[in-house]
């Protein structure tokens, strides 16, 4: 059995009520973590051999082998079944066998031969024609990186052409859902739907940073510069991610002169077709005064 153990969601720090970001960067590993384990070990008793009590029915066959994860050694231990009954399995006791409480779960190759994980993605409402396959590590862990599937949806062409007030960057952002199932010889498993809708944006993050773009979930401008510069005469816009839980956004721009005097204010209600996407907002050069020194922008 393969279970989903970890997702790349981030609870936004200091958010109240707690808010979770499901926005990920495409140019970074986007990893969903799974674990293959056929039974969890409840206890181990000395019966001359070793009797393992677990949470499943009959595991393996007499004379067959099971793999037991020893957390202390952090490795799988191969054991030979002496007898197996509903809820427990007895394995042969050898001289070297260390019997302790660090045995955590069982993998039974006999019960799930050639097991692997199959993932199916639904990107922007459409299932991918091909599924992705991931094999477990020796201890049963599967780190499924689906970023390459997202990267295939990215196009370098910006939608925003510095003409409209705002444009939805459908070439560089979107949403997806994930479904998964365990496959082995003779299985009949159906896909399990991961319950969240995920969002992706064309951005680069390191693995250490994590793929989640949680800083930008609440409308922070999609920009690494502390103080960006608008060189008049050159194309210029700013981008932000419109989180799906916000229905309406107004863009406000205020122009100031060098001494901080307010020169002009302009507000634009943005097109809500951009919800769940990156949006580009044009700042029109024609609306910038000759003595304008800086602009303050914010989303309301």
């Amino acid at each position: 059995m393969i279970t989903l153990e970890g997702i790349p969601a981030v609870v936004i720090p200091d958010s109240s009520p707690a808010e979770t970001s499901y926005l990920v960067a495409t140019e970074c590993p986007v990893i969903f973590t799974f674990q293959k384990k056929d039974a969890s070990i409840l206890s181990v008793t000395d019966s001359g051999n070793a009797t393992i009590n677990h949470d499943m029915g009959v595991i393996g066959v007499n004379g067959g082998e099971i793999l037991v994860y020893d957390m202390q050694l952090d490795k799988m231990v191969k054991l030979t079944i002496v007898s197996t009954v509903n809820g427990s399995v007895t394995v042969a006791r050898s001289f070297e066998l260390r019997l302790n409480s660090d045995w955590k779960y069982i993998i039974s190759p006999i019960d799930t031969p050639n097991a692997y994980l199959e993932i199916r993605l639904k990107i922007n409402g459409v299932y991918e024609e091909t599924t992705r396959r991931f094999s477990p590590s020796p201890n049963g862990v599967i780190e499924a990186d689906i970023s390459s599937s997202l990267q295939s949806k990215i196009k370098m062409d910006k939608v925003g052409a510095y003409v409209n007030v705002s444009d939805v960057e459908v070439n560089q952002s979107g949403k997806f859902q994930l479904e998964y199932r365990e496959r082995f010889d003779g299985d009949t498993n159906a896909f399990t739907v991961e319950p969240h809708t995920w969002y992706y944006a064309y951005a680069v993050r390191s693995k250490e940073q994590g793929c989640n773009l949680w800083e930008y979930w609440n409308g922070k401008f999609f920009n690494l510069f502390d103080k960006p510069t608008y060189w008049l005469g050159t194309p210029f816009d700013v981008q932000f991610f419109w989180k799906p839980t916000k229905n309406s956004i107004t863009f406000e721009r205020k122009n100031y002169d060098a001494s901080g005097g307010l020169l002009s204010t302009k507000t634009d209600v943005l097109n809500n077709a951009g919800k769940g996407y990156l949006n580009s907002i044009k700042i029109d050069e024609a609306q910038i005064e000759a003595i304008c020194d800086y602009i303050e922008i914010k989303l309301i």
């Binding site: 401008f221 920009n223 103080k227 960006p228 510069t229 608008y230 060189w231 008049l232 005469g233 700013v238 122009n255 700042i283 910038i288 000759a290 304008c292 020194d293 800086y294 602009i295 303050e296 922008i297 914010k298």
Partner: protein, 455 residues
């Protein structure tokens, strides 16, 4: 989020070709388009603190004479700068607003977008020589030298200018100080330019001939030496030359005539002889008036030249031809007898005959001008300047000032050449038949050899 705003600074780039490309970038503070009948003028105002007045003057002079290119959004385009439109917003040397206009060649009304012609390759003038040397006598044209000129990518007329004391010609016939050549399709086909020196000023005559068109200027250095004219026997004139011509021309320089100079009359001759102590109209030795020695007279010359009139044995031209050189000489007076026979002074090898002659009008004889109203006193010397710029030495004998050499005048008082010289100032020999048929002023050299005229 705060966004810093950086405003554009409009930078203009100009370049021009003068012995290599030169580039100039400047900040434009404002610019306007105005239109004239034929083209657009794009007026660019420089920003503050960009040029000093000295720099501006240097650039305006340079660019005003060059064919320049302006960098536009569509690449380099050609235009010219109108230097007269340079101006200051104030009198400050630094920091004043400076404006100038670019004459941008475009169709009228083609303001948006600004349509400029594509640039042409740099104009080129090819000159076959860069220096020439000449020598000439004062007031006389030198020998002719030539150079060739041709041009490519020429967008305006080619102007060739000769400095003072120099003349140029496109056909070796008509001599001028300026020649304008119009290009055809941007090309000036190769042609020969004739050059000569013609200066009345003695000494070195160094200058250059400028060959100029828009965007290129080629100078030819011309070095010349003008030597002083030393008169030998002078020119021989017919009697008609002593008279005012039908067109009003005179052989006497009007400026000098105003000071009293004239062709001597019989009375002037009589006064000269009287001053010399000779008895009129009788045989006398003339020894005080003639050049001494046997350079200009044959052996037997009794001249002593005590009055420094320097009469030389220049002979004469008769119906039969040139005769009597170093043996005698005759000098015309303007006076004629009642029967229209001209008077002349006759000088012989050793005197012994009449000092006055009844001459003939078609004889070729010398001329000595005199000034009976001179301010000089006896023995003083002075100068007389002829119509062609030749300067003569003079001598005052008692109250009369006389030329100390025979006349070598080539021009009339109106600047035209006397018959015997063509319109370009070159000696043209007159045949015996033609000479005899003359009824107007004419001139010749003994034996048609100018070596008998000047040393």
């Amino acid at each position: 989020m705060r966004i810093a705003v950086k405003h554009r600074i409009r930078i203009y780039y100009l370049r021009w070709y003068y012995e290599g490309w030169h580039y100039w970038a400047f900040r434009g503070a404002a610019e306007t388009l105005t239109t004239t009948a034929l083209d657009l003028k794009y007026t660019i105002q420089l920003g503050d603190d960009q040029l000093t007045k000295r720099q501006l003057n240097a650039i305006s002079g340079l660019l005003g004479s060059k064919y320049i290119h302006l960098l536009t959004d569509d690449g380099w385009k050609q235009c010219t700068m109108n230097p007269t439109t340079f101006g200051f917003g104030s009198s400050n040397n630094i920091g004043a607003n400076v404006t100038f206009a670019l004459n941008v060649w475009a169709k009228v009304g083609a303001f948006t977008p600004l349509v400029l012609p594509d640039i042409l390759p740099p104009p080129m003038l090819y000159i076959s020589k860069y220096a020439m040397s000449f020598t000439a006598k004062q007031g006389m044209p030198s020998d002719v030298q030539t150079y060739t000129i041709k041009g490519e990518n020429i967008i305006s007329n080619v102007q060739i200018n000769a400095p003072a004391g120099w003349e140029i010609s496109s056909d070796n016939a008509a001599w001028v100080t300026g020649i304008t050549i119009s290009p055809i399709g941007g090309v000036v086909s190769e042609r020969t330019i004739y050059v000569r020196m013609n200066s009345a000023t003695v000494g070195e005559n160094n200058a250059f001939i400028a060959n100029t068109t828009t965007g290129v200027n080629k100078n030819i250095v011309v070095n010349g030496v003008v030597s002083e004219v030393t008169i030998k026997y002078g020119l021989l004139y017919n009697w008609y030359a002593t008279q005012i011509q039908s067109g009003g021309q005179s052989i006497v320089n009007p400026a000098e005539s105003a000071n009293g100079w004239k062709v001597p009359t019989q009375s002037d001759r009589e006064l000269l002889y009287n001053n010399a102590g000779y008895v009129l109209d009788v045989m006398n030795p003339q020894i005080k008036l003639k050049e001494a020695g046997i350079i200009y007279w044959n052996i037997g010359n009794n001249g002593e030249n005590t009055l420094k009139l320097n009469i030389k044995g220049g002979g004469s031209r008769e119906a039969s031809g040139f005769v009597g050189i170093k043996n005698y000489h005759e000098i015309f007076l303007q006076t004629e007898t009642a029967s229209n026979i001209p008077y002349a002074m006759l000088f012989k090898l050793n005197g012994g005959t009449s000092s006055v002659s009844s001459s003939v009008k078609n004889r070729g004889a010398g001329i000595r001008l005199c000034n009976p109203t001179t301010a000089l006193t006896d023995g003083q010397v002075g100068t007389y300047t002829g119509n062609d710029g030749s300067v003569y030495r003079t001598i005052c004998i008692e109250s009369q000032e006389w030329l100390a050499d025979n006349l070598v005048e080539t021009k009339w008082s109106d600047g035209t050449y006397i018959d015997g010289f063509d319109s370009n100032g070159y000696y043209v020999a007159i045949s015996k038949v033609d000479w005899e048929a003359k009824t107007t002023g004419a001139v010749c050299a003994y034996d048609d050899d100018l070596n008998n005229v000047w040393e």
